[in-house]
């Protein structure tokens, strides 16, 4: 720890709002703190050298500059290779953070995180493609999580960096909300107040409990559950019987297709089950043909022929 004296502290406080936009900013700061321009510069240099000041200059508000999209990209990298890959990724200037974090098995297999910023989601996706290609990171299982809107939402939570226990205790009101509000949230001017009336909770209590459950990860999110097929996308489940000794290689080949959204190992002769989704009609058949060509294995497509129920509701 670097020792700061009272003058250093006063200097840091005076600079917290930024450097004065005048011709001689250090003289101006010095006069505010009661020291000379030379003393200001000497102290700033020392603070800079010792790392008390991380960076001196522009602190960028990404959103205000039109960097409206940012994504957290995560990979599951073998532990002995994660350090080297992290160093490669952090070289790119569009990567603003790169960390190794603990896995949370089984629901969170990823151990390498980085943030990628760009003007829009397509730009960010293109940058992620560059990372995956050039550093070979794309050979590992990975996922892209775009950031939420800036207003406080209950967005997708994956519990990645959370240190909380796996199972979260719920109070009576939390249970009420989960059991009664997995659907039917009204579309009206003040929906939390309206939904709360039936549960005996006021608007403020509703928002507080829902926010609490979002923050703890009990709720993945609070809002609409969309039906991808109704939006014109096609989604097909498919399965492969993979010889045990080729399992990891085949998983890699299958996962390399961006159209493959989920892939699960299951204990059956058909031991690999994955979901292929695409917007363009016919694309799914192409992807399946590509996977067959790459692996030499038969892919069994299992498209939905009729849907009887999609509930996904739980009771607690």
């Amino acid at each position: 720890m670097t020792e700061l004296d009272d003058t250093d502290r006063a200097l840091v406080a005076a600079l917290a709002a930024g450097l004065p936009l005048v011709q001689e900013p250090y003289a101006e700061i010095g006069s505010r703190v009661g020291i000379s321009e030379t003393d200001v510069m000497a102290r700033l240099r020392r603070l800079d050298d010792t790392g008390v000041i991380k960076r001196f200059g522009l602190v960028v508000q990404h959103r205000e500059l039109g960097f409206n999209a940012n994504a957290m990209v995560v990979w599951d990298v073998p532990d002995d290779l994660v350090g080297e890959l992290g160093r490669h990724l952090s070289v790119y200037d569009f990567v603003t953070l790169c960390y190794r974090r603990p896995r949370r098995l089984p629901q969170w297999p990823f151990n390498l995180f980085c943030m990628v910023h760009g003007k829009d989601r397509n730009a960010v996706r293109a940058q992620i493609a560059i990372l995956n290609e050039e550093t070979d990171a794309g050979r590992y299982p990975n996922a892209v999580l775009f950031s939420r809107k800036r207003f406080k939402q209950c967005g997708a939570r994956y519990g990645a960096a959370k240190e909380t226990a796996d199972i979260i205790p719920l109070d009576r009101n939390d249970r009420q909300i989960i059991n009664n509000l997995q659907g039917g949230f009204p579309v009206c001017d003040a929906p939390f107040a309206e939904a709360g009336r039936e549960l005996g909770l006021n608007e403020d209590e509703m928002i507080r409990h829902i926010r609490g459950m979002c923050d703890s990860g009990v709720l993945s999110r609070f809002g609409p559950l969309f039906n991808a097929e109704r939006l014109g996308g096609e989604v097909v489940l498919a399965a492969i019987a993979v010889p045990a000794d080729r399992f990891d290689d085949v998983a890699e080949a299958v996962n390399a297709h961006p159209e493959v959204a989920h892939n699960y190992a299951r204990d059956h002769r058909l031991n690999m089950w994955f979901v292929v989704s695409a917007e363009r009609p016919g694309r799914i058949d192409e992807v399946i043909a590509e996977i067959e060509a790459e692996t030499g294995l038969h892919v069994y497509p299992m498209p939905k022929e009729e849907e009887y129920f999609i509930g996904l509701k739980v009771t607690v």
Partner: protein, 166 residues
């Protein structure tokens, strides 16, 4: 029971609303007004469009989306059933009505390798709980189910969320 292939007309504004809400509603007293403000729309327009998406089934439902793992529901079994074609619709509706069945679909058989045409996902706290639920499902279907199996997931190999309206 839903037809799988019907796609309603959606315009650019609908897509903007989807993008703005697919990760959750703003947790403020007037969430639809907040979305309207963020997108430069009238609140009444946002509400009318979201209500239409609900009516059309573009939004399956709206409200709390629980994380099964965080609630301790960690076992997921895909139960698969061979049901004669003339019974499969009734069987699907009966299984789909069970509280622990989260998805239920008819899918094609691939004979001789894969004789099953009805799929029902079952979630539970532990494997034995899922097995007990599947045993109950087998009792409900009776002789209509010629054979069945449970495929438990053993490893997640890839999981990226479906991103909509991009």
């Amino acid at each position: 029971m839903n037809k799988v292939n019907w796609v309603p007309r959606m315009d650019e504004t609908d897509r903007q609303i989807i993008q703005a809400t697919q990760e959750g509603l703003p947790l403020v007293p007037q969430p639809y007004h907040a979305i309207a403000e963020a997108l430069g729309l009238q609140p009444a327009d946002v509400m009318a469009r979201m209500q239409r998406m609900l009516d059309d089934g573009v939004i399956r439902r709206m409200g709390a989306v629980p994380n099964h793992y965080r609630l301790g529901i960690k076992a997921n079994g895909m139960s698969v059933w061979d049901v004669a074609d003339e019974h499969v619709r009734d069987a699907g509706m009966e299984l789909g009505a069970l509280e622990y069945v989260t998805h239920c679909y008819r899918r094609p058989r691939h004979l001789p390798d894969w004789p099953y045409n009805l799929f029902a996902m079952v979630h539970g706290r532990r494997r034995d709980e899922v097995e007990a639920q599947v045993a109950e499902m087998a009792r409900i279907l009776g002789p209509r189910a010629r054979r069945h199996e449970i495929l438990f997931s053993t490893r997640i190999l890839k999981k990226t969320g479906l991103r909509l309206g991009a």
